[in-house]
């Protein structure tokens, strides 16, 4: 199988992370304090009173050590819009947020629908990416929904999955063909679900807030009816599907039903849909509150949290979507959709869902790490002896107000101005230190 994740070469870490509380549900850690000895980028030992004269020592007392996070939905804006983000800045932002692996979406300019464009990205990632980076390629040429990309060649060249994200695959027949044909690659399709005949002109979730503000409403059924249709097609074909950024209760119901019927479905939800609602749009600030799909109602938010808790939704994904300041500095209806989220994802979910007791930390770690990894057939980060070090160290007692400067090149953050708890002190991706806000013990 071709390599699917790419990362710049760097010195493998030799470090002892001492005394941190380990949280890794798949490895059976639920907050036990222990030392991790990392040698040449691998977890050599987990135990107590570990020493290595050749390794530096980090005192993680009072800190929490988790598997590194995996984000299956990132817009790196490269090629074409490097002023908004590039592979170096985007992966630094990922590392700062505790992510050790990310998947980038292909709706760039040019679109990643040929092996030559993909090859250029892979090469850049090998020299610039701070964390392991995979590239999704388009399902249809030019994202136009008319003809399939050369999926076989793209898979051989290192494609991580296929997606027309930013747009739906509008025609059912086209999607059916894509599901049939992509089987030869073993790679998953990730779908942006939107019936544009229902969402056309939509600016925000349709409901009482849109009625009051006079912004054109985006009905929940624009998403849920497409999800229902596409899961029906996948079931018929015996194929698997990944549903991007689920945002409303009606969609959760469709996915739950499909799971009950045995459909191979994975699904993601963003931190902003888990933590915010359409009430946030009242300020009419598109920089932080205009995104596709839009922020839903409080009932939608509750349904998404339930779905995350019971596993109906198995991934948290940021849909990190950088935009230049001057594009977002416009009246709401004229501004583009999207918010950045890599640097705030964990802290937002921790602050809004874990601290108030709505979700256990273990579940959040699973949905942000092994969940997305398994959905896309990637190695799941884990705190186990012999594994490559892919981990993050958190200060769950520290909080900070979200404000620039960001590692990301853009500033359109959904949580700007809010105080969030949970600061990432150290990220090791692929055995390499990718982010560090902590000193070694002298």
């Amino acid at each position: 199988m071709a390599q699917r994740l790419f990362q710049a070469d760097a010195e493998p870490a030799d470090v002892i992370i001492a005394g941190g509380r380990l949280v890794d549900p798949t490895a059976g850690f639920h907050g036990e304090a222990a030392d991790l000895r990392i040698q040449s980028g691998r977890i050599a030992e987990i135990g107590h009173d570990l020493h290595d004269p050749d390794a530096e020592r980090i005192d993680a007392t009072g800190l929490t050590v988790t598997p590194g996070l995996v984000d299956p939905h990132v817009h790196l804006r490269t090629p074409g819009d490097e002023h908004e983000e590039d592979i170096a800045s985007g992966t630094r932002a990922a590392a700062a947020g505790g992510f050790v692996a990310i998947l980038a979406m292909p709706n760039t300019s040019p679109i990643v629908d040929s092996a030559s464009v993909l090859g250029g990205l892979v090469e850049t990632a090998r020299s610039e990416a701070a964390v392991a980076t995979g590239f999704m390629c388009a399902i249809t040429r030019g994202l136009e929904g008319r003809s399939l990309t050369e999926m076989g060649e793209l898979a051989a060249a290192g494609a991580a999955a296929f997606s027309d994200d930013g747009r739906p695959v509008a025609e059912a027949g086209m999607l059916r063909r894509a599901l049939q044909y992509s089987a030869v690659t073993g790679l998953r399709l990730a779908l942006h679900e939107e019936d544009t005949s229902l969402s056309a002109g939509g600016q925000m979730h349709e409901g009482s807030v849109s009625a009051e503000l006079g912004l054109r409403g985006w009905p929940a059924i624009a998403e849920s009816t497409m999800i229902g249709r596409d899961l029906g097609i996948a079931r018929y074909e015996g194929a698997g599907l990944h549903i991007c950024h689920v945002s409303v209760a009606e969609s959760v119901a469709e996915i739950r039903r499909a799971r009950d019927l045995g459909t191979d479905v994975s699904a993601e939800v963003t931190p902003h849909h888990l933590c915010l609602t359409d009430e946030a749009v009242r300020g009419l600030d598109p920089t932080a509150t205009k995104m596709n799909p839009p922020l839903g109602s409080e009932a939608d938010r509750a349904a998404l949290i339930d779905a995350l808790a019971d596993g109906t939704i198995d991934c948290i994904a940021t849909d990190h979507a950088p935009h230049a300041d001057h594009e977002k500095d416009a009246p709401f209806e004229e501004a583009p959709f999207g918010v950045i989220g890599l640097e705030t994802a964990f802290a937002a979910v921790y602050t809004h869902l874990v601290e108030p007791g709505m979700l256990p930390l273990q579940t959040v770690i699973e949905r942000m790490s092994s969940g997305p990894a398994l959905a896309f057939g990637l190695p799941a980060p884990g705190l186990a002896r012999g594994r490559t070090a892919d981990l993050a160290v958190w200060d769950l007692g520290a909080s900070r107000v979200i404000e620039p400067p960001y590692a990301s090149r853009s500033r359109n953050c959904a949580f700007a101005g809010r105080s969030l708890r949970g600061v990432c002190r150290l990220t090791i991706s692929g055995g390499r230190v990718a982010h560090r806000l902590i000193e070694a013990v002298a």
Partner: protein, 331 residues
């Protein structure tokens, strides 16, 4: 001496949305407007109140009555007026709203009156200027001075707004006038029923505190029938909210047969005679359409006065509650 000395921080008051007003604010503005009525009956229809002040009206959308009424209101108060029709042109050339407003603000206007096709535009303008901002319509969101002049007209004719029953008829979905009037009427104790085809009444609008009917017969119970313009430009094939204007008129047109003698009929203009309102109703004894236009002048005088000379910048900090939400420190 510095060429451009920094301005001291100042309380800036804006009128962006009716939601920014409380009952006292509305009462004060309506009373001020009544005071200006007497000026309108003088030979010399001008007072020196705002001499030396500058009012800029910037319209990114076509307008007849709102732009002319703001301009005349400012002139009657002796302010200097600059009126700009910016419809699309700066956007076509790629200039952002912020740049347009910052450019105009270099002339130190005291008030910027803005109309723009996008929801939230007026609120954005407050971030780019030191002037007081008055929203003269932002997309389908708000048109607060229209609401104030409608309240003024209704109160003048009916004596009170308390418990008044107002039926708003027509295309509510695309109407900023409806949104502002719903808020203003409910604030002043009136009862509101929305009447129109299901395709032109926003989902969940009942949560605002209004009743909804799809039957034109529901206007019979109202004291005021407020007719909205049927936005013909939105009736293009494919965007059809109703099958035809003919059917719309048959089912929801306000005709003399559907209006009782004691009811007021109002319309924000421009009217499509024979579509949402029959000509004999528009010109009939129940019609308050011309009164609305007259009220627009004195009410806009009152709004400008309230911002600049009423509780005014000097008295703003001491005032119990400033005019608008968007009270902010401007560096």
């Amino acid at each position: 001496m510095e060429l451009y000395p920094p301005k001291p921080p100042q309380q800036r008051r804006h009128l962006i949305s009716v939601a920014d007003l409380d009952r006292d604010d509305v009462e004060r503005i309506l009373q001020t407007a009544e005071g200006f009525e007497t000026v309108m009956h003088r030979d010399l229809k001008k007072v020196p109140t705002l001499r030396g002040r500058t009012v800029m009206t910037v319209f990114f959308e076509a307008s007849t009555r709102t732009s002319s009424s703001f301009e005349l209101a400012a002139k009657r108060l002796s302010a200097d007026v600059v009126s700009l029709k910016a419809s699309g042109s700066s956007v076509d050339k790629g200039e952002s709203l912020r740049d347009t407003v910052q450019t105009l603000s270099a002339y130190d206007p005291d008030v910027i009156v803005i109309r723009h096709p996008s929801v939230g535009a007026a609120a954005r303008v407050t971030e780019a200027t030191d002037a007081h901002v008055v929203n003269a319509g932002d997309g389908c969101h708000q048109h607060p001075t229209q609401c104030l002049l409608d309240l003024y007209t209704m109160r003048a004719a009916k004596g009170t707004l308390d418990s008044l029953h107002v039926a708003i008829v027509g295309d509510v979905t695309h109407s900023r006038v409806a949104r502002s009037n719903i808020q203003g009427l409910l604030l002043m104790g009136a009862r509101v029923t929305l009447v129109g085809p299901p395709t032109l009444i926003p989902r969940d609008v009942q949560s605002l505190g209004v009743e909804v009917s799809h039957d034109i017969g529901a206007i019979a119970a109202a004291d005021v029938v407020y007719v909205l313009r049927m936005q013909k430009e939105r009736m293009a094939p494919g965007a059809a909210y109703v099958p035809s204007l003919r059917e719309y008129t048959a089912l929801w047109g306000v005709t003399s047969a559907r209006v009782r003698p004691s009811q007021l009929v109002m319309h924000p203009g421009p009217m499509n005679r024979g579509v949402e309102i029959a000509a004999d109703v528009a010109d009939g004894p129940n019609s308050k359409v011309i009164d609305q236009v007259r009220a627009g002048l004195v009410v806009r005088m009152a709004v400008l006065y309230d911002l600049l000379a009423g509780p005014g910048p000097a008295g703003a900090r001491a005032a119990p509650r400033p005019l608008a939400i968007a009270t902010q420190e401007v560096a």
